[in-house]
Symmetry: D2
Subunit: 331 residues, 4 copies
């Protein structure tokens, strides 16, 4: 195994999880900065004693798969090069998350390698497990779509979503290893900050998946909004659904319990989950309620944005891709 | 001036603000616990050197007004007794916030003194300034309704709200001086916790005021939901409005700027406000945006839940009630 | 395995670690409150699906060992009763930490079972590994002594400590599941609070161990002081040693590297460690420096107070007691 | 009044306090970056609607005094230029804090304007009030020396300090508007980090003042060590003094009460102060205790590092310099 882009939060955690995984061997970590230092000097807590090197495609170690943690648009060419060398990829960027090239280009600009879109599988394990098993490119979902789609999939499949508002809150690690006003403790602390108002790039990713789950509503537009709150790791997607018909509480409970009864990492709770309950785990914890006053359906979805939202889900996908028990190394 | 119930967060801050107010004299602080201690022993930061005593209605100091910071239902009898002795009251409880006795009893149980409802004025200063000036009972709004109503009033008055979801986030001081799982730093810290799902008591207060602002929609139901986030003081109401007709961005901006041009404590921002921008102030800071993708109107409203949301708004109302400059002692 | 007193922070974490330990089977969790609830309802994050029951000494499950997480003085009788039934104990209280009954009674009051003191072994694994292996009672150290003694042991053994000040800082989890002014986020947050000034009960525990390490200084008095800082888990012991003779930097570095070269859980760092580096791990991370300006020796010792400071060290000791690899289940 | 260097935390807060001060008029704020923006765009919470400009010494507004908030060494030439134009200065840098040029150069490198050292007064108001009143350069103390010296001055004046260890803890605002590993919430949060081990530049400033207070110990070396803890504003200096002779508790209490009885901003508390008690105030709150076990004297000193530690103390000094009541605008 290889982690390309291991100096950011997502890549570093993926390296940590791979390093201690009993079924995989992590042989390399790469980065464009900090080369020559051990990853554990940069992230002492992760205790990965490998030296950060530049990615050299001509002298790749002999690996079966790589986790690529590059920025959007920068990822695609590297993913392509790895594929050509027979390396399967879990890509943490947005480059292969959208099946539609047109939608991608509307939100991100020109796509570097549209020819590879068709072979990529959207890596929300619970929705696409079978195709992930044999995929050469797994496009790991964004953290917000992970929480949102696990919350909405049961309703969407049942054709119950007429309209939806998603208000997501996230800890500061969601901003990554960026050093600026949004991450300085004296500015991010004691603060609640809505950001990217009315234009969040995770919107099309959520919409495309919901359209696939409920083809009867190809024009569903999702109102997605995120806020930063002063914690490190943790994400809550609060979903407010106007249903296509009244949904009794008992039906709602059944719907969720049945949807996730077999899922090792999705828990249906009987009270609203706090994000601490999923901290540093691969779990998603859900709570659904029917509001008798307004007729709306509310679903709260808690994950750790760096774990299930990013890096441990990458491991979950690698487990599926390589026939390991799905929970191995992340439970 | 007198503060009855000064040992909780709201009463203590009201006492602090009154103590340092150049136009009022604070002569007494009462409490049912901690009597005999100075308030500044309980809240050193507030430096109020008055001794906490039990409220003795038979030996009231000679005061013109009192801030009553009692729990719901416990407040009404004391408010009544104070009124009988010629003392005007700013009541921080919910007892006089709802004009409709029926609505009150649906959410809170039997009303102790329904006869006094008619004379009470809802103390959101910006909406009811003139009536507050001469009121004998001012029902100080809840913190969530304060943020929500300042966010929605311009749209409501213009008849533009067809449907609305309010997702509010608040710091832990909103839970008050309660010692439990919700306030322990090792549980509340690094957590995001939705609470009182589908049944928040602030809902009817918001609805009643909106119905008054837009009589054309007497059946508007508000979806209100709150979450606790790990900070001390700060509150953000994120409002997602389905408008009755498309609202262009320019019209929206105009609507808000005109609505609040003369208001000393409401700021219309050009970017989403963080709650730090209103920390320890009486300001409400708003940002409105039209989402071209969904057609919805988004309004973000930031206040300090203990200041504008509670205690400094009580002072703002006292300033209005006693002919003091409205900004005195709180700006 | 059994955890008696699993409803507090320490017992709950011990239960969590035992539940997922591949070499032990956790068969019971007991508590005096919350009986009938699953431990995972109280601590969802720990996911231990056992039901909390009262401890019934007459109907003990068939276990080889128990972790006892009771308050001081309450622990000793239960420890004794378990011993009589052939159950080995790791006791998290102070009851068996001090070899001297007189010292115990000076700081804690009458000892409930002084007859058992002689057979108890102080459970700082790195200092007493061999005796722990065969002990029937292991007295798990306090978190402050754990960090302090690992910091000072190399200097003490070398006879280098003439005087020492220990200034320790700890997160709020150190106050346990107590709901009060010290743990409420609105009071503990944005605060630094020295507590138990000039009278901390961890002092004699540190002194007794240092006297054993350096018998030449039986009268060494340790100045120990703790402060609460606003985080959850994490502890830093900053030790200021006046040495018995000048200690060159190179000698100091050697001393620490040699002392801990074989220790799986003690790291000698080359820069001052932050407590994040040991968060949710059993590691202690140390940094020692000679101050050329004052001649003093400074040692900084970072642990997670709930892990190495308490519950994971209990597991480390259980591993030693039952012939498991020492790092099993906690690395 | 003018604030030169208003874009950093210290300068911005000084501008905020001057802007709302009833006795001073703030006419300009300067900065080397962010010119053309209003200060309130950078610091919305401070609400200072002045435009940031480059400092133009040839076109200075007509001001009597300036607060200079520049980095060390960069400050001195600007201070000199302002003096030449008849502007009195409160300098927040270290450039004029040390009377001894030799000591300055040992810790900071060559002094840009040693000729001005003699005329500068050390701006710890409580120690040098009279000389500050007529000073042309007031060297505002560092935040650590402020807390430490107020803690130690009574003991030092009485000749009671034989040896002293100062362990200071501070919130992240102490690192200023720096965007890096030390200030990112995901790194600084849930962390305790000792820094600048055995080499903190505030040491000579504390020593020089103590030597002046107690000329009998010209060779006293101070062990000073600081740690960052995860809060915004707040600082605690915990001082461990080995006294020259035993100090009874009653004498100690007397010593502190008499030393500060007339001081408007120094409080002698009867229990250890938390830093929240001085948050956003100009107060220093002290607690002294004699440790019967060790014979040492412990003093805990709490301030807000940005207020009394920096900017509000600058205002306190300006009040003294211009004959305003000392508490005006900061109480």
């Amino acid at each position: 195994m290889l982690v390309a882009g291991a100096t950011g939060f997502a890549g570093a955690l993926a390296a940590h999880l791979l390093w201690r995984h009993p079924g995989f061997e992590l042989v390399g970590v790469t980065g464009r900065s900090e080369t020559g230092r051990q990853l554990q000097d940069l992230y002492p807590r992760y205790r990965v004693p490998l030296t950060i090197a530049e990615l050299d495609l001509e002298a790749l170690p002999d690996v079966q798969a790589a986790v690529v943690a590059y920025p959007h648009a920068a990822a695609a060419p590297t993913v392509a090069a790895l594929l050509e060398r027979g390396v399967r990829v879990v890509d943490l960027s947005a480059d292969f998350r959208l099946a539609s090239q047109a939608t991608y280009e509307q939100w991100y600009g020109p796509h570097p390698r549209p020819d590879l879109l068709e072979g990529a599988v959207y890596g929300l394990t619970e929705l696409h497990r079978e195709r992930i098993a044999s995929a050469r490119i797994v496009a790991n979902p964004g953290c917000y779509p992970t929480a949102s789609l696990l919350a909405l999939a049961p309703l969407s499949r049942a054709g119950l979503i007429a309209d939806v508002v998603i208000d997501a809150k996230q800890g500061i690690s969601g901003a990554g290893r960026a050093f600026d006003e949004q991450t300085h403790l004296s500015m991010a602390g004691e603060n609640i900050l809505p950001y990217k108002v009315a234009a969040h790039r995770h919107t099309p990713e959520i919409e495309e998946q919901l359209h696939a789950l409920d083809p009867s509503r190809p024009d569903l537009r999702v109102q997605f909004q995120a806020s930063l709150v002063p914690l490190d790791q943790g994400e809550m997607a609060s979903c407010y659904v106007t249903p296509t018909r009244p949904v009794p509480a008992a039906e709602l409970q059944d719907l969720y319990e049945q949807a996730y009864a077999q899922e090792p990492f999705v828990e249906v709770a009987s009270v609203p989950p706090g994000t601490r309950e999923t901290l540093a785990t691969n779990f998603c914890r859900l709570f659904a309620a029917a509001d008798g006053h307004t007729g709306k359906v509310l679903v709260f979805s808690s994950i750790d944005n760096l774990w299930k939202g990013t890096s441990s889900q990458a491991l979950q996908n690698l487990n599926v891709m390589f026939g390991q028990p799905e929970e191995r190394g992340i439970a």
